[in-house]
């Protein structure tokens, strides 16, 4: 798994490629929580090149979302360009109700 983080004007763009499995999810969680701790509470996670996500990855995403939503004013973690198979993981565990999904980065960034 590779993570690339790019600071944009209104948010951070985090691009994840490869697979978010039980072994790599801790790194994703650390990256997201690190960004949040450094003051970045608006994050787009681009999953165009993410091959798969297991529950460990879902938990990492949820953990980051919970953190930014508790801040005042609240931040957000949104997802862009997710593949259908991965989207199904989110839907099955009810995370589709919690996260905002966008087909393109432009829309995702524009949400902030």
């Amino acid at each position: 798994m590779e993570i690339r983080a790019e600071k944009l004007k209104r948010c951070e763009m985090v691009t994840v490629s490869g697979r978010i499995d039980s072994a790599t999810a801790p790194e994703l969680e650390n990256t997201l929580l690190g960004l949040i701790q450094a003051g970045q509470k608006n994050i787009v996670v681009n999953m165009r090149d993410t091959d798969y996500i297991s529950s460990a990855g879902l938990k990492a995403m949820l953990s980051a979302l919970m953190k930014v939503r508790k801040m005042i004013p609240a931040g957000n973690v949104v997802i862009s360009e997710i593949k259908p198979d991965l989207r199904e993981n989110f839907d099955l565990v009810g995370f589709d109700r919690l996260f905002d999904f966008y087909d393109q980065d432009l829309q995702a960034v524009g949400s902030f």
């Binding site: 697979r19 499995d21 039980s22 072994a23 790599t24 798969y52 996500i53 297991s54 529950s55 460990a56 879902l58 938990k59 949820l62 953990s63 979302l65 919970m66 939503r69 508790k70 198979d85 993981n89 099955l92 565990v93 009810g94 109700r97 919690l98």
Partner: protein
């Protein structure tokens, strides 16, 4: 039972991707369609991660054994460990409707396994350890 292939590795987090890759190769050779393949990979990840985190708690890390086979138009994965007895009934399903602040982080893995696989069966034997057998039906080409 046909050409069962078996992998035995130490129950460590670094071996979870090894187990996933092993099953992926076998599943592809069995003709599993792409979506089913994705689901099987997630299920194997969940099961192996559970063994890594829970099976040998309080003792020396042991091993996990994964075997794959084709059985009557279904891809079968067996995962065995020799750790603490695991009772799946003690794992509570996640509350899918809970608002964000109330969402618990646990229970997702087993829930996904049951959603993705057609059959999931757990057994425990004092000698043979925990065995999980899960199957995924091969899609008939239309």
């Amino acid at each position: 039972m046909g050409n069962a292939k078996t992998l035995k590795v130490k129950a460590l987090l670094e071996n979870v991707p090894v187990a996933i890759d092993f099953v992926t190769q076998s599943a592809k050779a069995s003709g599993l369609d792409d979506q089913s393949l994705y689901q099987v990979r997630v299920a194997v990840d969940e099961v192996c991660a559970n063994i890594v985190y829970h099976a040998y708690k309080g003792m020396e890390p042991g091993e996990m054994e994964i075997s794959c086979d084709l059985d009557d138009q279904a891809f079968v994965v067996r995962v065995r460990d020799w750790g603490n007895a695991f009772d799946p009934d003690t794992v509570v399903d996640p509350d899918l409707n809970a608002p964000l602040e109330d969402r618990a982080l646990g229970g997702l893995g087993l829930f996904l396994v049951r959603q993705f696989m057609d059959q999931v069966r757990f057994t425990f034997d004092p000698e043979l350890g925990n065995e999980l057998v899960m199957t995924k039906r091969l899609q008939v080409a239309g």
